[in-house]
């Protein structure tokens, strides 16, 4: 019986074209996408028909979770650090350069100023653990009215959130305020945030929403 002669074939596949495609894709992703900023709470924004994009600069985001905890983030590290310094001064806290560097590394912060120094001194793992405990009163920027005594001994009644916003506005007057809240947040929670802002004569906000698609219209 004659053997079927199988021709020996080379299995070499030219990967150059494939490589070209992947490099193109990679470039596309690198240029068009932005990194996800980790947020302490997961927030599902409500959908709206608004097609306006959020501005890229001079933006301060106020994140409100469904229980009324407030977190803040800045797009600019300078504003962020200057604001922390000013708020710290109000309450009689000074931060070391090391602490300020750690603060810059925080994508989104929400710690009462009293706990800020010890929070910034701890390791990233401890910080992550700390922020997970969302029911603790030491997570989130406090919005209760309280007495504030500055270094000259002047006592004023104010809440910490308002301090943060007013100092942020002083650090950068062009700052726009964006409110990002969960769609199931009760209205009184949102109202109290907006009331605080309106006390500071801030009455223009951007509400962060996601684009309404045809399917959920």
């Amino acid at each position: 019986m004659a053997k079927v002669k199988v021709k020996k074939q080379s299995t070499w596949i030219d990967m150059t074209a494939m490589s070209d495609v992947t490099v193109l894709l990679l470039t596309f992703f690198m240029l068009t996408s932005t990194f996800v900023t980790p947020e302490p709470v997961t927030v599902t924004t409500p959908s709206s028909v608004s097609e306006r994009k959020i501005p890229e600069t001079d933006l301060m985001t106020v994140l409100v979770d469904s229980n009324g905890k407030i977190f803040m983030s800045f797009d600019n590290n300078n504003d962020k650090v200057n604001t922390l310094r000013a708020v710290g001064e109000d309450y009689g806290f000074n931060f070391t350069p090391q602490q300020l560097i750690h603060f810059q590394a925080q994508p989104m912060f929400g710690v009462p100023i009293r706990s800020m120094a010890s929070f910034l001194d701890s390791s990233p793992e401890t910080q992550a653990e700390y922020m997970k405990n969302l029911t603790s009163p030491r997570v989130g920027i406090p919005t209760e009215e309280g007495e504030v005594q500055d270094d000259r001994g002047v006592v004023s009644s104010d809440n910490e959130f308002k301090r943060w916003v007013s100092h942020a506005k002083k650090a950068n007057p062009d700052l726009q305020i964006a409110i990002k809240a969960d769609q199931s947040t009760n209205y009184p929670v949102v109202r109290s945030v907006m009331d605080d802002l309106r006390d500071l004569r801030e009455n223009r906000y951007l509400l962060i929403t996601s684009l309404k698609t045809a399917s959920n219209d």
Partner: protein
């Protein structure tokens, strides 16, 4: 493709070199790229979030404004209730208080087409049609975005002075959610309403909602106490 043919070039040279093909294996390169793409796909987001502009009156303005609003007959008050419910009334409740006990004064409707949208468009017919024409022109690139915004504003201002456009007052109740508020604001954008505002609920509005639904949670503590004692 990925081969470089190295040829000695000198055709009649003595050292007849063998023609060599230099092939580079791109497989590891592709592997690495794929890994990087996966990383970028997982850790980044392509969609930039949308933002909606909201201008609220400052606290000093509120008092003056609400006084002006009362006089206007074109006012539509939209009340956002619990569980995505929506109510509205036109004009102002009768000063003699009879409307507060009348459960038909407040009209229940729903978000979207067939609900509040149809009603608002019917009240804002003139401006709505004109702005729709403008939007068409913008789509056909006959006018620019700036011209569109400018003309839209003109149309809305004119409609307001002519009293053909309503002034919408949105009053979210304590039982409504943030998404209700955003949705109500969306309806204003869709119906091309130029003047709308978000205002706190007054006791009267709370009572209207209570009369309509029988839900005591709309009332303030004080009102609940009054109700229990009467």
């Amino acid at each position: 493709m990925a081969e470089v043919q190295s040829n000695d070039g000198g055709g009649g040279g003595k050292n007849k070199q063998k023609k060599q093909t230099l092939r580079v294996d791109f497989t590891p390169m592709v592997d690495m790229n794929m890994l990087l793409i996966t990383f970028f796909m997982l850790c980044t987001t392509l969609l930039k979030p949308q933002a909606m502009n909201l201008n609220l009156p400052t606290k000093d303005e509120v008092d003056n404004q609400s006084k002006n609003k009362v006089k206007e007959s074109t006012a539509i008050t939209v009340l956002l209730g619990a569980g995505d419910e929506l109510y509205y009334y036109e004009g102002m409740p009768n000063p003699d208080g009879s409307d507060y006990e009348n459960s038909d004064f407040l009209i229940q409707t729903a978000y979207g087409i067939g609900g509040i949208r149809d009603f608002l468009i019917s009240r804002n017919r003139v401006a709505y049609e004109e702005i729709r024409q403008l939007a068409l022109q913008k789509k056909n690139l006959e006018i620019t975005e700036e011209e569109f915004n400018e003309k839209t504003k003109e149309v809305q201002d004119k409609a307001r002075t002519d009293n053909t456009a309503p002034v919408v007052i949105i009053k979210p109740s304590d039982l409504s959610t943030f998404s209700n508020m955003v949705e109500a604001l969306d309806e204003m954008t869709i119906s091309n309403i130029g003047s709308y505002t978000i205002v706190e609920m007054e006791e009267g509005d709370r009572h209207l909602l209570y009369t309509k639904t029988g839900n005591v949670d709309y009332l303030t503590e004080q009102q609940k106490a009054d109700l229990a004692s009467s």
